[in-house]
């Protein structure tokens, strides 16, 4: 059932065991083998989605809008196998680390912007990106996906990680996930959803395409 990995992502033996890996400058102390650097699914929701065989539709070389880039752990791997990659993060501290990740990746574009306000970066991020990867772990995760729909190509994919506790610490994660997927349905058709255990507790991953 496992879907194919995008070009530029391989399963390789790194540091004694088979792992997902991409080629690029190391970023977070991950083990390496030559130019290959291990991609740890426990530290990356997109890594977990690939590890779990979800249909991300990534083939390699895509144009990507990444929302919630933080210090660049995951987006560094994305920039390794994808094409032009726009990385939006609104906290200055991690954005500083993101800058060093971008320094060795000429097609990674760091943006210190609020993903809830796409009008502040729509003059920079191009229309028709092939994928939006979203991992903002903040309240209003569905709204962020809806607001950023404007950047996505009609045949593009939304790859969304939803953290239940960010919406509401007190509520049952399953209930939070229902509400969020309902809200998404206004503009997206859901293709696949699953929880990211054992890599990430109480996280739901969603693959969707624009309606």
């Amino acid at each position: 059932m496992s879907s194919e990995l995008p070009a530029g992502v391989e399963r390789r033996v790194v540091d004694g065991r088979e792992r997902l890996a991409t080629r690029g400058e190391p970023v977070y102390g991950e083990p390496t083998d030559g130019e290959w650097r291990a991609w740890n699914p426990a530290r990356s929701k997109l890594g977990a989605m690939l590890e779990l065989g979800m249909e991300t539709a990534f083939e390699g070389g895509e144009r990507v809008l990444y929302l919630g880039a933080a210090s660049g752990t995951t987006v560094s791997h994305v920039a390794d196998f994808a094409g032009p990659t726009y990385a939006v993060e609104f906290a200055p501290r991690p954005a500083r680390d993101l800058l060093s990740v971008a320094a060795s990746r000429p097609r990674l574009f760091p943006l210190l912007k609020d993903a809830r306000r796409p009008e502040t970066y729509a003059h920079v991020v191009e229309a028709g990106v092939d994928a939006i990867v979203q991992d903002v772990a903040t309240r209003g995760q569905a709204r962020v996906a809806l607001e950023n729909r404007r950047f996505l190509a009609d045949d593009g994919r939304l790859l969304l990680a939803v953290k239940a506790r960010s919406e509401d610490v007190a509520r049952e994660p399953a209930a939070v996930f229902e509400e969020i997927t309902d809200e998404l349905a206004a503009e997206y058709a859901l293709l696949e959803r699953r929880r990211l255990e054992p890599y990430h507790a109480d996280h739901l991953a969603v693959v969707a395409e624009p309606r």
Binding site: P92, P106, L112, A122, E126, G128
Partner: protein, 329 residues
Amino acid sequence: MTDETDPAGEGWFAGLAPDEPGAEAIAEGGTETPRPWPRLAVEAGFATDEGAYYDRLHEATTRATRRAVREREAADDQQVKHAVRAMDDCRRTANELAERLAEWAGTVDGGGSGIEYARELAADADGEPFAGLARRVADLAAEADRLESFVETRTPEVAPNLSALAGPVLAARLLSLAGGLETLAKKPSGTIQVLGAEDALFAHLRGHAPSPKHGVIFTHEAVRGTRAEDRGSAARALAGKLAIAARIDHYSGDRRPELEGELADRLATIRARADDSSAAGDTDDGPATGSTDDGPAAGSTDDGPAAGDTDDGPATGGPNADGGIGDVE
């Protein structure tokens, strides 16, 4: 959704001169609706092809983000500065009022002292004339605690290395005494060593007193936990590492966990001297203040940590400067 507003908005590159990086346009511009910018930029002659466009975009986004990160972090250090000052004010005021309260309540009640006593009175002195005062003392103390937890979470984001070495609260006090991260990063370690001991330093400079060996960093275990004869050396070693930490935090922001180990090694060496009998040793452990333009020079030292010259004399801290510990053994 909002497609009716400026359907033909302009990209960040519109109107940029060929040699202009465009960081401002990235940071400040905006439009409702994205368009295929790479193609439009090539059509407009901004770039010869999409590859060249992306190269310029990389340059512009990197610059804009670096600048914005600096500005936002600078604003954050001011938050920490005000928070730690407010925390000290709340705590000092709470303690003063708690004393007054204890004096008063002691005439009626069994007696007690301090904030704890004020909390007890706040809880069960209803109807007494000092009940309102007791509640306010308890509230002030609670506000001080709340501000302290703010300082504890925010300072490590503003100055991660400094916070790791000094602890967040002392790191915030140093930021506050210096006026901000940038000014702290520009101070020689000899100045950092005596930040918060300005009164003692000026007395020394007027010739009335020995040079202070440490200011607010006295509260650090490295100094306090070292026997009195070696405290000057410990303070100087600590100040040296703190100066480096502040510079890394300001200029690069990298984490350098090895600083902690280096400090521990220096301290171990200093403290070991206590065991090989106490003869000789450096007698002047005053701050290594480089000569300054408008600030009087303090005592020279043999091996003070490299102190870049500054043209600002000893920092005159904010409202808390007087709260510092000017220990002048």
